[in-house]
Symmetry: C2
Subunit: 313 residues, 2 copies
Amino acid sequence: MPPLRSGRCWFTGLARVRHAMLYAGLRGASSFLGCSRDPPSVAGELRGELDRFGGVSVKLDALDRLDTVAFQRALQAAIQKWRSEGRVAVWLHIPIFQSRFIAPAASLGFCFHHAESDSSTLTLWLGKGPSRLPGYATHQVGVAGAVFDENTKKILVVQDRNKLKNMWKFPGGLSEPGEDIGDTAVREVFEETGIKSEFMSLLSIRQQHTNPGAFGKSDMYIICRLKPRSFIINFCQHECLRCEWMDLSDLVKSENTTPITSRVARLLLYGYKEGFDKIDLTMEELPAVYTGLSYKLYHKELPDNYKTVTGMD
Amino acid sequence: MPPLRSGRCWFTGLARVRHAMLYAGLRGASSFLGCSRDPPSVAGELRGELDRFGGVSVKLDALDRLDTVAFQRALQAAIQKWRSEGRVAVWLHIPIFQSRFIAPAASLGFCFHHAESDSSTLTLWLGKGPSRLPGYATHQVGVAGAVFDENTKKILVVQDRNKLKNMWKFPGGLSEPGEDIGDTAVREVFEETGIKSEFMSLLSIRQQHTNPGAFGKSDMYIICRLKPRSFIINFCQHECLRCEWMDLSDLVKSENTTPITSRVARLLLYGYKEGFDKIDLTMEELPAVYTGLSYKLYHKELPDNYKTVTGMD
């Protein structure tokens, strides 16, 4: 029952790092700093910031002229000190141009937690047992748009240019960082087909692991129901081989499609004939309790009387 | 309409790197190798592997004794060659103990694409316009379990130990790499409460961005309906302050709960009174077309007659 990784409580709290500072004096280590070509003033100490989960966070910005040998010795001494104080983990934040400090840290047991753009973060677990530090993002999110025109009973489908088998599918692609599911669907449909559309609902979620196209990470693939706002196709020649408004019944019957496209076509047929409320997850924006942010929540539409009900009866 | 980043086609294809090899001869650069303390045999060339999207992938394993100055000059010459050949991107894969090559690469314009455990990957975009390279994973996935006992009309709820406001919520936590949604829910419920349970359905999906507890990435939070398989609570003292089987009607009425917990409690009440098919997204495992993998697909249950229907009528 790991209190660090398992609970979401721990995660949310990461943002509320206490500003108590730890100065790992490293008097023992400073004697090694004669190796440094041009010792900076900060060389005699490795400054760490404590978090409320027993970890220490170190930013290497100020060490930019420190020698790697001196750094490794200072870090080793600091680790001993933090360990003796009962700290459970060390986080090292390293700007890309200070990456010469990565290998010395790795030789003391640090490994990459993540890296992006111009910096990397390494971690060392000091606690008992296996590391309980939280991991980094595990999923990419792709979104496709099933654009269905109720008036003509036609659905927008494409064939990818680069696939070995040219099967009919819904236009879609990966969400950008910070992009909402519905916005990805509308953007991708427009980029691939030239069709403008409006988000109606979320229809299905697929989870797939060790995805080769996701750098070995997992893939969450979501299909949305969209309503067309324009009808003249102008498809992207780079991405698509074909793009059509196809009769929904033809897509349902087609064998030249993926299982997930066929399944969602049948869901749409069910929705069209018996009411889209049978298949839709509708969206609502709600305030987040702890962070002051908002979020978007998707679930089956809740009848009004259940929104206000106060008991079982 | 970017063909690289926008289309999922490109992504899936990443795995099918052609094994045509590119040897960037670097005869011009090899004259700089006198700087190397002990030039390895590979020093005269920087070997890159072409992918079918116009990119070049370089693994630095073989360069472990190369001088950083020689490396930077060799890389600079190789980039000129690849650019003249019309390559659109370079991927550099660097083992953690070779991280001294990162800063020299950064000075030529490379930046981190991602890093994990004992290696990092850097990229340089050579194509026209802004980079169209696909990003890395953008979301962490958290899963909570709403364990509802139809016989007693009670639901399993906890209060987190570390929150400022101790609100009732469903037990849950972050999914492990490669873990299915339902498995995360069952595992987290057991770890936090000691209750064994079985996955029934997916009830809701929440998307939230720039999450401080997700290292600035996005958060996908999914609530599942679970059926209890045991009833004696033995909750984790590290994570939870309280844990109870609460009357569902009391949770619906409670003000000491989060908006999402209250909403899902009302959904469960709706499902209990009018049939869980009104609120459930059921799960099915299907084969992936291109990769030989399988995936799990969640959507509203499709009536049998729509699974076999072949047209609109």
